[in-house]
Symmetry: C2
Subunit: 164 residues, 2 copies
DNA sequence: CGGAATTGCTTGCGATGACAACTATTGTAG
DNA sequence: CTACAATAGTTGTCATCGCAAGCAATTCCG
């Protein structure tokens, strides 16, 4: 709660009207999008957090992944992932398996039930993404957005690594 | 926890490569951005949630706003806003004032201390937005993004109202 | 006018997730 | 080979936030 030491005030350039609009619309959209997309997966008893876990696992060979790698991809703390998996394991969608290579490691494994549920839920998720995101834009805008966010993503990863 | 009734499986159109890239990059970027932007305001003892409250209040006449309106803008539940304000009131950055017009209503009021802190923190926040978002793109991309997210935002508001 | 529905906010409770501390395993020096 | 450091995961504790319930004030109608 105690503030860290504050950086000295810098003379920073403000956002011009177009930039400010882009930023505000982006923020508002992402907020609202997160809420809307929850609705598409909740009929399947899933949160978007759960859904993301299933997706990531389904994209891996043998549908399994080390906890720490998964936590990195999901930008979740180790404890956060442990508890999210607890729920998915209880539901029988994911199971834990100790790794043979490294006995510190736990593998999160997508079960058949988990895969089946993902296959069932995914089309509705995609419908939501189309309806509220992709189909609101022109193809040119989609393309521009893809390249723009590619650069933003790379920049953020770079920044993240510099902080190590 | 109990799944709601599931919608019938629909034949939905999948995302083509460009669309999928746009979506994935967008999701990853927003996740990472949220973490990075926290770093810019945390030296001031603020979370991004707190910061957003201060910004919204500062934009209002007399720096005050009804709780329910504020909750709507921040897409926060009534109870969520109550508790977020609790913290800000404890810190002396915001105060509560009952409304004269409607005695059910509580007004959240930005204090002088809150305004001063916002003025101090804002440049660092803007620097972060520039560094990680705006300045990663060409001006054309920023403009495209502004219009694209304007349409997405409108669509989401519309959808939200239809669900009312 | 007066009761019922609505609105605005707060509180109890449960779910989620971060941080720090702890255990267990692996890697690295000396 | 042994100590020390680094890595992987779990658990305790705390903060945040949503839902349902509750209370107070207002509005709607008959």
């Amino acid at each position: 709660m105690a503030p860290e030491r504050r950086p000295a005030t810098t003379a920073s350039r403000w956002l011009d009207p177009v930039e400010a609009t882009a930023w505000r619309n982006f923020i508002d959209s992402t907020n609202a999008l997160q809420h809307v997309l929850e609705e598409d997966v909740s009929p399947f008893g899933l949160t978007m957090g759960d859904y993301e876990v299933l997706v990531r696992l389904s994209e891996r060979p043998e549908r399994r992944q080390r906890m720490c790698d998964l936590a990195g991809e999901l930008r979740l703390s180790p404890s956060g992932l442990t508890r999210r998996l607890d729920g998915l394991v209880r539901s029988g969608l994911v199971s834990r398996e100790p790794s043979n290579d490294d006995r510190r490691v736990m593998l999160a494994v997508l079960t058949d039930a988990g895969y089946d549920l993902l296959v069932e839920a995914a089309p509705h998720h995609v419908d939501g993404v189309r309806k509220h995101f992709i189909d609101r834009m022109t193809p040119a805008e989609v393309a521009a957005l893809a390249t723009a966010f590619e650069k933003i993503r790379r920049g953020l990863i770079e920044h993240q690594e510099q902080q190590q």
